[in-house]
Amino acid sequence: MDTFTWTEEEIDLIHEIRELATTKIAERATYLDSIGDETQDWVIPELLSRRNMLSPAIPREYGGRELSMCMHAALVEELAAGCAGAAAIVVANNYAVTPILVAGSKELKNEFLPYLTTKSPNLACTAINETRSDYNLERPEMSSEDITRILTFAEHKDETAIINGSKDYIINGSVAKFMLTLARSSESKQKSGLQFYLVPNTTPGIDVAEVLRKSGLRACHTVKIDFHNVTIPEEYKVGDGAGYLLLMQTFDRNRTLIGAIGVGVAKAAYEMALEAARSNQIFSGTNSYSHYVSSTLADLSTQIDAARLAVMRAAYYIDIDENYARVSIMAKLYATQVAQHVTSTAVDLIGRLGFFVGHPAEKYLRDAQMLSMIAGSDYLHRHILASQL
């Protein structure tokens, strides 16, 4: 029986992060949620960097914690129970780190990974999505467009790459130390033309074009960025020519962590509803709502457990390098849906107070909704998974 159990140190770390998440992080997050996400706040990144939690999957040789994906998912869940936006900051870092770890040169690793493991906080980001001219009344001639339709272009000249284009929905983007940018390296419109470039934020030509004000996940600052003749050394290519595969791998792996955020938010909402019911003596035999409330909570808890199992299985498959694409999509889809259902039901159970700004239940609801948007819609995930049935 290959049952997975945590070591004592791992359990200690989980408890430590839970403590951090539900106290200092949650407190700051509530404040950030109330003021909106116009600016990048550094309190949460600082709290995380002090525990070396900004990118805990980075190997020890670069100063990281070298966590397994299982452990990573467990900690992201704990962070998300405090604040889903804080967890999203860490996951965004991991998105950026993944291509470097998988396909980056030793030099790139040495140069950039340590930024994310120092005591003073640094962030990283991926610039992949593009705002498309999707809102077009006329049906385009070509019907072969797909998710990898990338218009940002990198021209190779004199051992440099010059990047032009525009990228959207970039978490951590405004302050990221470096940016993993997906661009076409040739005129080819095929998937093979895709290439990741590591763009340091000091490079001239990077402009924050728009700050995205989000309905939830406001603790993670999100922007749109324009690239105007952004020129980097050619060595900052990550994984020469394997851009599409690297992209898929990055998404497949990190999708699991989005699922973990879902589990964390759902857990927080469920525990709040349970606590509320307890402190209001709903479970005393005489309350006529007792059976209704308790069986609703039992259902929520059943679903949260199943979602956690789905996430953990995907994480485990990644750790042992089994085929994880399918299970990671399932984990993301299921956990996101559970998070949305649980947070909405929790508001109902908590009652009128849960509907007011400042009550955590109301924030959980908005945060959970956002999970359908980051890293691709549910429709898109179903589309990818359908091709693998």
């Binding site: 929905y169 309905s215 509803a273 402190s279 509907f355 955590p360 359908s372 819609s377």
Partner: protein
């Protein structure tokens, strides 16, 4: 009741409401939603007052249009398509004056009702249910607090006069109302028989509007705390006979809840229409997403449910208009309209995708408004209990 039609002059009013909505309400809805701290759109309220739409079902003897409940619901749906919060300002008026209409004295009617039909807007607020202001506590207010009150009551100096101390929280329209209707219990945590509904001018000595409460949705309809500092309640402020409070409360909840149902319809319709429109222009895998049956069939299901909910709301209103037994139908209309609105707004966000999740996108607002509406005038679960009480 197979189709609920209204006379053509009422149809004209509904169409006028639609026009006002398109021209004046929809364009400001997002901005109102994003203003922090309960600011009020007085321009729109003035406009509604000008068209006598702040309480359109009031009889003409009080200056109202005297239109049917059904036409009123249709007007609320139209306005809610533009902004559910504005529609809720009106429905709060209607709910507040309902006890006066059904149980008030002629003097009370003549004093308060004409305020709402004045060209200069005068609004009414309503606060029947109490809330514990403790964020950590599970407050199922409908289950717990109808017959409970933390307001301290003592006998006043004059005969029959009562003095109140305490506060009510989350009072919609409180900061803009001329008068408000509330309920107290003459014995703390006492019997349902001790409940009393009263109407008070907002400028009654001792009444103060306290802190603004920010809400998940319906933000253009502000909610405040109301503080009672030794407020003397003279007998002519009491609505209904002593001890009739619960009856008055329940009767007027039944009369008003279908209006909230109508607002749910408006939000759901707005979300559906946005999703439908977007699906026909937004590209997904190289073609408009509407051409994906996963999307178009989801829209079909949304439209089907929305229609079933609308029929339920209209049935409840028709029964009120026909003076038939409406209490079951009213509760059912809230249960179905509220759950359909929540489902439709969530699906609509999924269909719109991407930008729908940004703060300030209409789809995101619809979801919050629909969720908020689920608690207005009693949660679905509370209305299920009311329905079940007649089993």
């Amino acid at each position: 009741m197979f189709r609920h039609t209204i006379p053509s002059q009422e149809t004209d009013l509904v169409m006028m409401a639609r026009e006002i909505t398109q021209n004046f309400i929809s364009p400001n809805a997002i901005e109102l939603d994003q203003r922090v701290g309960g600011s009020t759109d007085f321009a729109t309220i003035n406009l509604l007052a000008e068209h006598n739409l702040l309480a359109p079902n009031l009889p003409s003897e009080y200056g109202g249009l005297g239109i049917s409940h059904l036409a009123t619901a249709m007007i609320l749906e139209e306005i809610a398509v533009g902004c559910a919060g504005i529609a809720t300002i009106i429905s709060t008026n209607l709910h507040a004056i309902s006890p006066i209409i059904t149980a008030g004295t002629l003097e009370q009617k003549q004093e308060y009702l004409p305020k709402l039909t004045n060209k200069t807007p005068h609004l009414a607020a309503l606060t029947l249910i109490e809330h514990k202001p403790n964020l950590d506590i599970f407050a199922h207010p409908e289950a717990m607090s109808i017959s409970r009150s933390s307001i301290k009551v003592k006998k006043g100096s004059e005969e029959g006069c009562t003095v109140l101390r305490g506060h009510k929280d989350y009072v919609m329209n409180a900061n803009i109302a001329d008068f408000f209707v509330t309920m107290y219990s003459s014995t703390p945590y006492g019997d349902k028989k001790d409940l009393q509904v009263i109407v008070l001018p907002m400028d009654t000595p001792g009444v103060a509007v306290g802190e603004v409460r920010n809400t998940l949705g319906l933000r253009s309809c502000s909610a405040n705390e109301v503080v009672f500092d030794n407020v003397e309640i003279a007998n002519n402020h009491k609505i209904g006979k002593p001890g009739s409070g619960l009856l008055v409360f329940m009767q007027n909840l039944d009369r008003s809840v279908a209006y909230t149902g109508a607002i749910c319809l408006g939000v759901a319709r707005a979300a559906y229409e946005t999703a439908l429109k977007t699906s026909k222009i937004r590209m997904y895998m190289g073609r408009p997403s509407f051409e994906e049956s996963a999307v178009s069939y989801a829209l079909v299901d949304m439209a089907t449910k929305l229609n079933a909910a609308r029929l339920s709301v209209h049935l409840a209103c028709s029964l009120i208009d026909s003076d038939l037994d409406f209490s079951q139908a009213a509760s059912k209309s809230k249960v179905i309209a509220s759950s359909v609105a929540q489902e439709v707004t969530a699906k609509a966000m999924e269909i719109v995708g991407g930008r729908a999740y940004l703060y300030g996108h209409e789809s995101e607002k619809y979801l919050r408004d629909a969720k908020m509406l689920s608690i207005v005038d009693g949660s679905e679960q509370f209305h299920r209990s009311l329905i079940a009480a007649q089993f």
